[in-house]
Amino acid sequence: MARRSPEEMTRAGSSGEPPKKVLKALGLLSGGLDSTLAARLLQEQGVEVEGVHFSTGFCKVEHRRALGRKRDRLEPRRIRNEALRAGADLRAPVEIVDVAEEYLRDVVLRPKHGYGSAMNPCIDCRIFMLTKAREMARERGADIVFTGEVLGQRPMSQHRAALALIEKESGLAGRLLRPLSARSLEPTEVEHRGRIDRERLGRITGRSRSEQLRLASRFGIEDFPAPSGGCCFLADRNFARRLRDLVAQRGRDGVRSTDILLLKIGRHFRLGPELKVIVGRDEAESRLLESRRGDLATCRVADEHGALGLVDGPLEGESSRLVASLVARYSAHRAEESVEVVLCRAGEQVRLRAVPADDAWARERLI
């Protein structure tokens, strides 16, 4: 008889049953409580768990890291990568995969199943990630893919029909296990074959988190982030307005991931079909705008380091005056009759005096 690898060694012990290969599962691990619990439910049954976390470029925590605000620098736990933390707590390796470009092009800008209340393509997002996870599972010899999804928890992507659609379109029919809601869903292949004891999985449904908190207490899991519905920029209506504006101006093919970085920062104003200005709301945002300015022009009040305006579009004549007026409005000198402003493009500086813009005028142009 051929010698077996460690993975093939039996867990059945001396019961006389044929040895069983340890079941291996690859899960989408956000680091939130649900995916952590899903992993723990499987580990409890002896399943070898690995996690994957896709970095899409739309995570609000990642943006906070880039802003580097003092309170976050002093308390790095506030900006930690929760998927890595969950992997450490679970003692399970977590692979982080950067999918930003592909995700923007194929999911965010071209969702087959549409958007939620903002520009959140939740169903396409799940299909995209699970299709990638299926491929990774095949490469790693994982038997199943799992998620922390809960039936009925989210309106767009976690109702029964959506869960079935996601399973089918990701090519994981019968192989996608949702341990928290498993007993409320059709059994997967591994449950049918008795490789996983269905009775030891969850039957959680709906938006209440009381059952998850009970499970967390049972497993001794105390360190987990608050429910994460608000951590994705795509579900943020302010961000969605800016993204829609950008797509309307440039077309889908004209949107780049570098544009997405700027959409997350500051107040955005459209002053003309081809003229947009982004004004930092505080020093951290102005600093980040400056670092990501690329070849865009900047506008700043002459004697302060506060609000910086980043100008996307032509900057000459009347448009210079409008930009200067807007930036003066968001400076510490907004109450003055006129303010000296410096416009900078390609290393050349132009100084001009501007009258701070009227509040109503600015609000009308806010994207």
Binding site: H53, P76, I79, L84, G87, A88, V94, E95, I96
Partner: protein, 86 residues
């Protein structure tokens, strides 16, 4: 949470170092993972980073993947964290 320097590599071959300053997590972790692939087990890798999240993300990465986290120290306004490949 205030974190004090704890880095102590001890004697041994010169560690490999990567510079991820100016990059934000998870990029330093991705660079770490990529660099580790070409190192031998037991090799020490130093990661220079200015994203403070490195101080919590790198120990977590090491714990989940089985590498040994050796600690960190400050250097030129950034952090130098070190790990030993499993």
């Amino acid at each position: 949470m205030r974190v004090e320097p704890t880095l102590k590599f001890g004697a041994g071959p010169k560690p490999t170092r990567i510079d991820t300053r100016g990059l934000y997590c998870p990029v330093p972790i991705l660079r770490t993972r990529d660099r580790l692939r070409s190192l031998e087990p037991g090799a020490v890798l130093e990661v220079w980073a200015d994203d403070p999240a490195i101080l919590v993300d790198m120990p977590a990465f090491c714990r989940s993947h089985g590498h040994e986290y050796l600690g960190h120290e400050t250097q030129e306004g950034a952090w130098l964290v070190a790990l030993r490949k499993k």
